[in-house]
Amino acid sequence: MRPPSQMTQIVGSILVALVIAAVAVAVVTAHFGPTSTAKLEAREDAIDARVDAREERAKAREDRREEAEKRREDSGSG
């Protein structure tokens, strides 16, 4: 049996890639699908909490740095 033409093989392989991508999207999205609103809200809250915690840490770091700089300046001038 002769193999299909090269163009057919290329088009076929790209179509297979598209099907794989579509199946991956469908499977993962289905995994999210049945989750309840409460669960989604809890997840969003957890994400928000992580973002807030990160911002707080960044702010604390900034404050510490400013304080250290201030101390350095004070000791330098004194």
Binding site: P3, Q9, G12, I20, A24, V27, V28, E44, I47
Partner: protein, 144 residues
């Protein structure tokens, strides 16, 4: 806004950054498995009658280019939205994936497609992609 990229990503995903990231990362992993198959056909390790080495190489490159764009998009979303601080192993694997991607592109540009390094860099890239997915999307989906 202080962080325009973070805001843009939040808008594009309608506030579902994690979910979109998980979906895209899963597509990347699924296509990476397909890439292994295409590479095996391309190198002649697997010889199906209906699929020759030349078209497999072409498809491997086309899918690889798409994967590169997707992986960089996921990385940008990950770094701008979550940063490195809470990443742990995921952040390390993610950085190594980007390094391996760069090494693979470099190996193709410098050594050509017949570079003996290429299969090893490809296998390392696949392993790192899997590890990165398991420590984030897999964790989120309850796989790992």
């Amino acid at each position: 806004m202080d962080r325009p990229v973070e805001g843009l990503i939040d808008d594009l995903t309608r506030g579902n950054v994690t979910e979109v990231k998980v979906v895209l990362a899963s597509v990347v992993l699924a296509l990476a498995v397909y890439q292994l198959v295409l590479a095996a056909v391309s190198y002649g390790r697997v010889r199906p009658r209906f699929f020759e080495s030349g078209p497999a190489t072409w498809a491997h490159r086309a899918v690889g280019d798409t994967l590169l764009v997707l992986a960089v998009a996921v990385a940008i979303a990950c770094i701008t939205f979550y940063g490195f601080e809470e990443g742990g192993a995921h952040a390390v694997f993610g950085c190594l994936v980007l390094g391996a991607l760069a090494a693979k592109v470099l190996a193709v540009r410098v050594g050509g497609s017949s570079s003996p390094l290429l299969p090893w860099v490809g296998i390392a890239l696949f392993a790192l992609l899997t590890a990165t997915w398991l420590t984030s999307a897999g964790d989120f989906l309850g796989v790992s």
